[in-house]
Each structure stands twice: as structure tokens, then as C-alpha cells.
Amino acid sequence: MKRLPDISLTVINNAQRASIFMIALVTLSACQPEPASSISMGGILGDSSSQLNQYATVTPGYQLSFPADHLSHDDFRQEWWYLTANMQTESGEQLGIQWTQFRIALAPEAAQSAISDLDAANPNALNPDALNPEVLNSEALNLDSSNSEASNWATSQIYMSHAALTSSVAHQAAEKWSRGHPELANVSAKPFTAKLDDWQWLSGSDGLFPATLSVATNEFSYQLSLTSHAPMQLQGDKGYSIKSADAAVASYYYSQPFIDLSGTVTRNGKQEAVTGKAWLDREWSSQFLTKAQQGWDWFSIRLDDESALMLFQLRGANKDLPAFYSARRMFADGTGRNISGDSSELIAMTALQWQQTASGRYPVSWQLRIPSEQIDVTVSALNPNSNMPLSIPYWEGPIEVSGSHNGNGYMELTGY
């Protein structure tokens, strides 16, 4: 499981005022009851779940297909393109970078297009088929292109991007927001492009690779070439990744753990060449967490036997609620083994060391054990202060792995 919490439910407790606002903005607008003019049972019962129903849902058996599924799925509530990398400078310094583009729907796409198309009296808008995500997607696209009057500004999607650069002594993070707009922030095909202003993933093909990734902030910037020849790794059941033992919440989730990277990093006005390995995660859903879940601890690890390990636990909202574990050992030929369940026999995770950061107290060192894979490693942060003091505060940074295997990777800690 990766990344951004269900924006509507968690993390609000320790969020800053600013982030409360943004989250409130996202949830309030998404969850507010319908205006009195169209009173319905759904409106009267109007909690988040009533509108949640209007978003597309994640179901088992969906066949992921590429490159189509690299693009955005606007009928789902949340989605992200998430790259982390462990790199070395020419002088041998270890660096980590992160780039993430989040998409958040402010309102269900179907309902939205129905409203905005009422004027135009477009029969498609009221077609029940429009609620089918796949139909809707193509319909929505058609609508946009056929209706020449529709403004590119009109949107129900907003985008947020995070970027970070971490060394053992410094951790810099930045954030950008934008409404969805073809010129400003979106994900588009031919060639594949994910962008928010000047933070851009530009592919040379319809697929994700080869690509350049450029990010520039006031404090740092990086420009990276990314290549990968390994097949995509579908997490969970062919990309259907459950997030609770009862499968009440799930996401579509695939990864590319085997990316070669080279490029330049600029910090403090100084440019340096870097090489390293990167990891991409793609995930989308309409609901990521149940109300009983507090947050997660997520690891992406490249082991020294050329395999990779994705591992996470979703913690319960209180001590009595059991955590949910999931992991996958992956190989460059596209094969892999899932390890999942809520028994600590299969996956054991123990926090070893905590760090008080400006945005909270995080467990920055872990003991990870997966007996079935003969993995028993200790994970420690390259920089324990890799907290992200952004709209939604969390911890994300490069890690070093030692024990039964050596290696490196990334760790993400949320909900603390």
C-alpha cells in the first residue's frame, strides 16, 4: 500500500492549520449534502459514504492494461504517481529523492458531468451507463472534445505534487497545488506526461519509460533520466490490492521497482551528477482506509540479491485493533510472491527507534522479519529527520537495510 492517506479521514489530528483547511476543502466540498433544491434520501443522510458511492469502486478481477492505466482515472477519488530513488553523487554521497503527483477528485465525475451538461441537454449525461467507470471515461473524453464551448478551466480534479531531496544531513521538501487543467496540471498520453507546472514526468513513449523527470524548487532541483526494461509488478491479486483483512477497502496498485536513473541534482546552487535506482508506484482508489485504521508504515526495499520487497502495515486506530500486513517479493523478470495476512507469524515489524521531528514523532528504525522469505533485516533512516512538513505532514525518506540481506530503499510513515 502506498502513500497519501485517505485524504478525507486521517491525519487531520496532527495536521497544521493550513492542511486542515485544504483537507476540509477537499472533504467538505466532496461530502456536503446536496443543496436543498434537490432533496434526496442520499442528501438527507449525506455523509461521506453517500457521495462515495458515486465514485467508481475498486473491484477484484479488473484487468489492468497498459499504457491506458498509466493515465488518470478521474472517476476514482484519489490517485498517485509516486517515484522514490536512492542515488549516489560522484563523490559517493548517498541521496534520496521523491516525486509524487497526486490527483484528488472534488466531486464524482459522473455527477459533475451530469450537472454541467444539463444546459447542453446532452443525452449522454443522463445515460445510466455513464456511471460505469470505463464507459464514463471514454464518454467524458468525448464530451470534452465534442463540446467546443466547455472551458478548459472547468474541472473537478485537483492535483498536488510533492518533491523532496534527502541527504544524511539535510532534508528538503516542497509542494505544489493546482486545479486540473490541460496546460497546468494533468496526466496525458502521447507521449505519457504527468505534470504540475514545471514539475514534469515526460516520457519518450506512450509507456512510462524512457522518461525525464524535472523538478525545480527555490531550494533544490533535479533533472533525471529514467529507464526500465522490467515488466510492471502488479501488487495484490493482479493489481487488486486489499487494505484490510475483510477487503472492505482496496486499491488498484502496480509498481516498477527496477528503474535505472542518472541525471543531475542541484542544491545550494551547486549542480552534481548522480546515478542510482528508482522505484515507481501507481495506485488509485476511492477509499483507502477504513475508519478503524490510523495510518501506515510502508517500505520499498531493493535487496542485494537483485530482488525487491514491498512491505506495509496498516495500523489500527487504537492498540486493540489489529494491524493489517501485506508484502510482495519481486524479481526483475516480472515474477514475484505475495505475503499477506494479519498474522505476525508471516510478517513481523518492530519499531526500534523513534525520532521527534518538527511535524511529529516517528519510528525511524525497524526490525522486519518475513520467515517464509528468509528475510530478517534492520532498517534505518539515512536521515531521521525526513519529515515532510507539507499540507499533510508525514515522514518519507531513504533507508539503509542490513541483516540477512543488505540493501536500500524508501520508507513512508503516516498517521503519527
Binding site: A18, L25, A107, Q112, S151, W153, S156, E183
Partner: protein
């Protein structure tokens, strides 16, 4: 007894005295309260306006550091520029489109659209930045935004939703619905849902929409009015120019921390400040009068205290303590009332500023410093006024128990000194005025005149009543007039305040009345056509053709306009056809060969405000960017000649100065041929037509052609109506302050009369004992006092006229650059006199009735005066 004990004892005695006579303390407090109220009311209004200019933010967002604006002569820029900026990493940018939309009734509304998501997000970022310094104000605004129900999802999805301040929403869309014409299909109104936001968010009278909707409402797809940027301006300019991000599609305009607006509105605020100072002075007169009266009443008490062995300087300190305490209490109450007053004044000021200068006011705020300032000012003025009195009292010979303080001879001496001071300062002003070229100086001199005028009053009235007394038959009438002289002393302060208020009122009336007449006459000549049109630029030629074909159209006049600046003053560069130029420019001054030189492009016309502001005269060369740009290009071929020898020889000179009223921008008029020669936009901006017949008929014909909407047409009557309305607005605030001053003066008169009648119980009782009836006594006192008021009004007549003259010919001319022909309005004068007599009648009658109701004979035993 220790000194502290002596002071405490004196203060205790004073306290007991005031307990016995609360009216006296009340009168002093009243004066201070009124003075501070008006001072603070206007001060907070002004300060808030100035703060609004310098902190003016983009609607619902933060303050921009740099603006990207359309090219000269264009109203919009393409949104491609915005995309380029964002794609090159300038993310703290806000795209804004604004313009006029028309409702089904034909009223025009300014609609502003921006990327509301970016706007709110920028504001949030700003708040996060400020979090470390815990800026309370920002937090407050922040919370307002969080709590407000901005339906961002619907707004971004281009649903028909407008945002307004709650107060505007209540006014224009009480049921939450608002209709605007569809700019494409004019017959089809668009229904819009209105969301009222907390007034604190500072939307003012703006109507805000998301850009997705606004571009549609304004029919400006893919167009922006400007782009606001929020980072460090210097690095932004570097980045933009180095990467050529604008590609000649737009311009960079640096924000000036509201200096331009401050510049524009300075005279307006100065006007307000001057009025508030006047009111403050009037209030202080009342307070001083109160202090004087209470000292007069306590004269015996003070002597007794001295006789008891209290040292002079201790008594003095006690008196100063008493004054300080009264000032403290009065200032605090006045401060609170003043803030209340400013709440009431601010909408009025906001309206003026918004209509006249396009400035938005932010929600009011106030500072404790104002209270301290007001207190210190009041205390200083109070001490200055009272110290001589205190000294005089504490220096009395101990043996004197007699209570005759205001001996007539002594008073006359004071009056003479006052009169001499007044005359000499007036003389100085008379000499200095012709040399005062700046309105600040003129205003200062006027302040001296205002102080001098009341000082003239006591002796003048004294002399007049002396002269009247000689005319009167002997007996009771003679006694009455003769005794009036005695009243002048105690009443003089209240009368001075009254005189000030009257004079100010008369002069303001004169100014406003004269201006209205001047403006109307000017509009008559300025508006020579019947219908003025400002269509979309691509329609203008079609409209011209259409008008050309209509037989009833007797004249078509084109006008070309671009905005420019002259020494930081925003100006409009205008060109019309020669006939229109000749007819519409009412010239203040012109050269002999104006029109031939004008046509050859050697001379230009400038508006009076520019001429006055920059001291320009006929024959001066005039340089603005469009001229120099064009001339540097055309002068390139003749490089063989040294251009530097006569750098200004190519620049046009000023051939005429024309009157221009109410236009905050300066205006420069050049010939059409010259316009074309220097390469300015060829297409006219607006077009006007003379029409034989009902102009509404022509309007309808034009609407039917679909070339132009009613919103883009203004007929002559409509313009006149708007101009007059705007003008009235400009002066409404001053008139309100003026009336307040008059009210304050009336209150002062009331309190003075109250105290005087109380003091005159003994003489009245004597007359009663001598056989006069109560009715006669009442009539006599009443006539005496009304006589003084009437005399004051008479004095106010010439002084008001002088002040009016100075206001018109010095201050307004220099501050606004408007020549106004002074018109004396007898009606207004008589009205003011009637108001003054009526208020004083009430002010006299009530205390008089109270006093004479009691058995007068009892008063006979009271110690006189």
C-alpha cells in the same frame, strides 16, 4: 502638610465640588468626547483606507508583488502567457479576468474571475508562512475562509455560482439568486446562485466568480485581464525577461505598495483630515468653555484653599491633575464612540473610493496608538488653553474674596488682543496666499485663517452691540442691549465654536454648489454627441458603417485612447477628430495659433489637473513614452545630425489647457494625424453619434444589429446622471462631517447657555425685584442671546465667503486641479442662518425656562456671577 497631601486634599475638594455641580464636569467631558469622537472617527477611516491601498490583496488571496498586464491599448491578454509562466516554474501566480456583465435590466456589474483554487491556496501558503510569527489577523482571516462555505468543487466545475460579500449579497440577491445576460445570446438570462461570504474577507462590492465561469460571463474565452505574481519582484523580472516568457504578448507592471492610489486619493483624505481637525477644534472650544466656567464658579473656593495655606503650585498641580483625568475619561469614551462613527462613515468612504478611484477598502481595524495620540493631543491643547487661566487664578491676591473675575475692562483688553492677533495673522495670510503653490501650504494657511476668524468675533460683536445700544431708546431696551455686551465674555467661546462651524458650513456649501454648476456647464459642452459607444474592437468598423447608412445620424465621431503615464501619474492619451476636439475641449488657456499647430502635430492639449500638478504652462514641451518611443524611431535616419543638441525639439509643446473634472487620470489630447504618425493603434476605442430624434430609438436599432449591447452604450443623459451622482458621492462624506461639526457647535452653545443662565440668576432676580414680569425677563434674555447668535451669523457671512473662496481657488484648484467658478448661494446661507437661530433658540429656551421657573426672588440671595 506634605505636598502630596495638599494635592490630594485639593482634588478631594474639587471632587466634592463636581458632585455638587455635575453639569460643569459634564460640559468639559462633553467637549472632549465630541472632539475625540470626530478626530478618531475620521482618523480610523483614513488610516484604514491608506492601509487598504498598501495591503490591497487579490480577491480572496494575498498581496501581489508584480502584475503582468495587457499590452498598451489592449484590455486583455491571452491566457497562454499565464500557462507559460506556470510551466516555467512561476507557480505562485494567479490568473484574473474582469469586466462588465449586464443584468437583464441593463445594469452593469463588475465581475472578477480568478482561479479560485489557486487564490485560496496562495492565501493558505501565505498564512503558513506567517504562522511562525503568529499573525493574529491572518489567522482570523484564515479561519473565516475555513469556516465559510465556499463550494470549491462546484466553482471549479464552472457551475453558475457567484461569490459576494454578505452585505452586497443581501442587497442585490436577497434570495440568493442573481441574473446576468448571456453575452452571446442576449435574450437568455443566466441564473446564478449567490454565495455570501463574510464581509471580513474584504470582497467589498466585488462580484467574484471562478475563472471558468467568468470567462463565459464576460465572453472572454482564453483571455485574462492580468496575472498577479507573488514572489520577489526582482527575481521574477529576471526570470521573465531572461526566458522571454511574455513574448511581447503582455507587460510587466510593478506593484507600488499602493503609492499610486495614495497619491490619487491624497487630496481626498486631506480633505477629510482637515474636516476632522476642524471638528476637533470646535469640540475643544466646548471643553475650554466648560473649564472656564467651572473655574469661574470655583474662584472663591480656590481662594479659600489658598487662604487655608495650600501652596500655589500644589493647587496648580491639582488643577492639572483634574484636567488630565477629565481628558483621560473623555478620550476613552470619545475613542469608543469615534470607532463607532468610523464604522458608520466607512461604507460612505468606501463607496467614494471604489467609484472614483477603483480602490477597495478592507475591513476596519484600529490601534491603541490612536487613543494615545488623541489623548496627548487633547491634553496638550487643553493645557495650552487652560494654563493661563490656572495661573491667573492661583496668582490672585489672597485678600480678594470678591468674585469679580470677568471685569468688563479686563475682558475688553483680552478681546482687543485677540482681535489684533486675528487681524495680523489674517494679514500675513493675505500676503502669503498668492505665493502658496501647493495645496498643503494653502491648507495650512487656511488653518490659520480658521483660527483667526473666531478671534475676531468678541470685539466685533462688542462694538456692534455698543453701537446698537446708542441707537436704542433709553429704558429696558437700552438696558438689554447694554447688558448684551456683558454676555459676550462668557458666551464668546461658544459663539466662536458656532462661528467656526457656520463658516465651514457656508464655505463648503459654496464649494459644492459652485462645483455642481461648473460641472454641469462643463458636461454640456463636453458631451456634444447624443450616444457614446464602446463596442468590441472588431465591431467598431461595422458600427461605423451602420451609422453611416442611417439618415437620421447627423454626425459620427471616433475616439482613440490608450493609457500611459506622465511622471508616474496615470494619464489617458486621447485623439478625436478635429471637430470634436474643438467642440468638446473647453479651454482654460490656449496659444494664438493653437489649431493650426495642433493639426500639424506640434502642439497638444493637456487637461488642467496635469498642468497644475506639474506646473506646466503653454509652450512647455511634453514628453510621454508614446511620443519618445515614436520620435526615437523616426529620428534614427537623420543620424548625421547631432540629435543631442536639441533633444526636445521634436517633442510637441503644450498648445492648450482644457478643463477636466472628476477624472482621476490626467488627459492628453493629440491630433488624429499625429496619432497615426507615431504609430498608435489604428482602431478607435469608442465611437459617438449625433442623432436627430429620440436617441433610444438609435440604441434599439443598434441592439438589433447585434453589433453592440446596451451595456456598451451610454447616452448623454445617462453620462450626466452618472457624473453628477459620482460628484455628489465625492462630497457626501465632507458634508456629513460638516453637519456633525454644526451639531457639535450647537451642543456647545446649548451647554454655554445652560451655564450662563445659571450664572445670571442673581441679575435676573434683581430685575424681577425691580418689577419686571417673568415673561418680560424671559423675552429679554432670549432676545439678548438670539441677538448674539444673529450677529455671529452676520460675521460668518463674509468669513464663510472668504473661506469658500480660498477652498475653491486655492485648495481644490491645487489639490484636484479643478477650476471652479465661485457662486454665492444665498439660499444655502439663509438656510444655515435659520438652522443656527433655531438650534440656539432651543439651546436658550430650555435652560432659560428651567432657571426662571423657580421663584426668582430666592436667587437674589445667591452671590452674583
Amino acid at each position: 502638610m506634605s505636598s502630596l497631601a495638599e494635592i490630594r486634599l485639593s482634588l478631594n475638594v474639587f471632587l466634592a465640588h463636581y458632585k455638587h455641580a455635575p453639569l460643569q464636569a459634564g460640559a468639559i467631558l462633553l467637549g472632549i468626547i465630541l472632539a475625540v469622537t470626530l478626530l478618531i472617527g475620521v482618523k480610523s477611516t483614513n488610516e484604514n483606507a491608506v492601509r487598504s491601498y498598501s495591503e490591497a490583496t487579490e480577491l480572496l488571496s494575498q498581496r501581489a508583488s508584480l502584475l503582468i498586464t495587457p499590452n498598451p491599448g489592449e484590455r486583455y491578454l491571452t491566457e497562454e502567457v499565464y500557462f507559460r509562466l506556470r510551466q516555467s516554474g512561476i507557480s505562485n501566480a494567479l490568473a484574473i479576468v474582469s469586466g462588465l456583465a449586464v443584468d437583464p435590466e441593463g445594469r452593469r456589474w463588475q465581475v472578477q474571475g480568478s482561479d479560485l483554487f489557486a487564490a485560496i491556496n496562495l492565501q493558505t501558503t501565505q498564512a503558513t508562512v506567517n504562522e511562525s510569527i503568529t499573525n493574529d489577523e491572518n489567522t482570523r482571516q484564515q479561519n473565516n475562509l475555513v469556516n465559510s462555505d465556499i463550494p470549491i468543487a462546484k466553482l471549479l466545475a464552472a457551475e453558475n455560482i457567484l461569490l459576494m460579500s454578505q452585505s452586497l449579497a443581501n442587497k442585490v440577491a436577497p434570495n440568493g439568486e442573481f441574473y446576468l445576460q448571456d453575452p452571446i445570446d442576449k435574450q437568455k438570462p443566466i441564473k446564478l446562485e449567490v454565495i455570501g461570504l463574510d464581509d471580513e474577507l474584504g470582497l467589498g462590492n466585488a462580484i467574484v466568480a471562478d475563472i471558468s465561469l467568468a470567462q463565459r460571463l464576460l465572453n472572454q474565452p482564453q483571455q485574462l485581464s492580468y496575472i498577479a505574481l507573488f514572489d520577489d519582484p526582482e527575481s521574477l523580472i529576471n526570470q521573465i525577461t531572461q526566458r522571454n516568457l511574455l513574448q511581447q504578448q503582455a507587460n510587466i507592471t510593478e506593484q507600488d505598495q499602493g503609492q499610486a492610489l495614495q497619491e490619487l486619493t491624497r487630496s481626498f483624505h486631506l480633505n477629510l483630515n482637515a474636516m476632522s481637525m476642524l471638528a476637533f477644534v470646535v469640540g475643544l472650544f466646548i471643553a475650554y468653555n466648560g473649564v472656564r466656567y467651572s473655574l469661574m464658579k470655583r474662584q472663591k473656593l480656590l481662594v479659600q484653599l489658598l487662604q487655608l495655606g495650600i501652596q500655589k503650585n500644589h493647587l496648580m498641580i491639582a488643577l492639572i491633575c483634574e484636567l488630565t483625568l477629565l481628558v483621560l475619561i473623555g478620550s476613552i469614551i470619545g475613542f469608543i464612540l469615534g470607532l463607532q462613527l468610523s464604522l458608520w462613515l466607512q461604507p460612505m468612504v468606501a463607496m467614494t473610493l471604489e467609484q472614483l478611484y477603483g480602490a477597495r477598502l478592507m475591513p476596519g481595524s484600529w490601534q491603541w496608538q490612536w487613543l494615545v495620540q488623541a489623548m496627548l493631543l487633547t491634553l496638550f491643547a487643553g493645557l495650552l488653553a487652560c494654563l493661563p487661566l490656572y495661573r491667573q487664578l492661583t496668582n490672585q491676591p489672597l485678600a480678594r474674596i470678591s468674585t469679580k473675575i470677568g471685569q468688563v475692562s479686563h475682558l475688553i483688553r483680552t478681546h482687543r488682543i485677540q482681535f489684533t492677533i486675528a487681524i495680523s495673522s489674517l494679514a500675513c495670510c493675505a500676503i502669503a496666499f498668492p505665493f502658496a503653490k501647493q495645496y498643503q501650504v494653502s491648507l495650512g494657511l487656511m488653518g490659520v485663517v480658521i483660527i483667526a476668524i473666531p478671534l475676531l468675533l468678541p470685539l466685533t460683536i462688542y462694538k456692534i452691540s455698543q453701537w446698537l445700544a446708542r441707537l436704542c431708546p433709553a429704558g429696558i431696551w437700552h438696558y438689554m442691549i447694554a447688558e448684551t455686551k456683558e454676555l459676550i465674555g462668557p458666551l464668546s467661546l461658544a459663539m466662536m465654536a458656532m462661528l467656526l462651524a457656520l463658516t465651514a458650513n457656508i464655505s463648503m456649501n459654496t464649494l459644492v454648489g459652485s462645483f455642481e454648476v461648473t460641472l454641469k456647464t462643463w458636461l454640456e459642452s463636453r458631451l456634444h454627441a447624443d450616444l457614446y459607444m464602446r463596442p468590441a474592437s472588431d465591431k467598431i468598423l461595422d458600427i461605423n458603417d451602420f451609422l453611416d447608412q442611417n439618415d437620421k445620424v447627423t454626425g459620427i465621431y471616433n475616439q482613440w485612447t490608450i493609457n500611459s503615464t506622465y511622471q508616474n501619474m496615470p494619464i489617458e492619451l486621447v485623439s478625436r477628430d478635429l471637430y470634436s476636439t474643438k467642440v468638446t475641449s473647453s479651454l482654460k488657456a490656449q496659444t494664438n495659433d493653437l489649431w493650426s499647430e495642433f493639426q500639424s502635430g506640434n502642439q497638444i492639449l493637456i487637461s488642467e489637473p496635469i498642468a497644475i500638478k506639474y506646473g506646466l504652462n503653454l509652450g512647455d514641451s511634453f514628453s510621454i513614452a508614446p511620443f519618445t518611443k515614436a520620435l526615437s524611431i523616426t529620428s534614427q535616419p537623420i543620424t548625421s545630425q547631432p540629435i543631442s543638441s536639441q533633444p526636445n525639439s521634436l517633442l510637441p509643446t503644450i498648445g492648450g489647457i482644457f478643463f477636466d473634472y472628476g477624472n482621476p487620470k490626467g488627459q492628453v489630447v493629440i491630433d488624429q494625424l499625429f496619432w497615426q504618425n507615431i504609430g498608435l493603434p489604428k482602431k478607435p476605442k469608442s465611437i459617438a453619434a449625433s442623432y436627430q430624434g429620440d436617441v433610444t430609438e438609435l440604441e434599439q436599432l443598434l441592439v438589433d444589429t447585434k453589433l453592440i449591447g446596451t451595456a456598451q452604450m451610454y447616452n448623454q443623459a445617462k453620462i450626466k446622471q452618472q457624473a453628477i451622482a459620482m460628484f455628489k458621492q465625492t462630497f457626501s462624506i465632507t458634508m456629513v462631517l460638516n453637519s456633525l461639526t454644526l451639531i457639535v457647535a450647537a451642543i456647545g452653545l446649548f451647554s454655554a447657555c445652560l451655564m450662563l443662565t445659571q450664572a445670571r440668576q442673581a441679575p435676573l432676580a434683581k430685575l424681577y425685584a425691580l418689577g419686571l414680569s417673568k415673561g418680560q425677563l424671559r423675552l429679554m434674555t432670549f432676545v439678548q442671546m438670539q441677538l448674539i447668535v444673529l450677529l455671529t451669523c452676520l460675521v460668518a457671512l463674509p468669513t464663510g465667503a472668504i473661506l469658500g473662496y480660498l477652498l475653491i481657488n486655492k485648495v481644490t484648484l491645487q489639490a484636484f486641479g479643478w477650476s471652479i467658478a465661485m457662486l454665492w448661494d444665498w439660499h444655502a446661507y439663509i438656510r444655515v442662518v435659520v438652522i443656527a437661530l433655531t438650534t440656539s433658540a432651543v439651546a436658550i429656551a430650555i435652560p432659560l425656562y428651567w432657571q426662571t421657573r423657580k421663584p426668582l426672588i430666592n436667587s437674589l440671595q445667591q452671590e452674583a456671577l
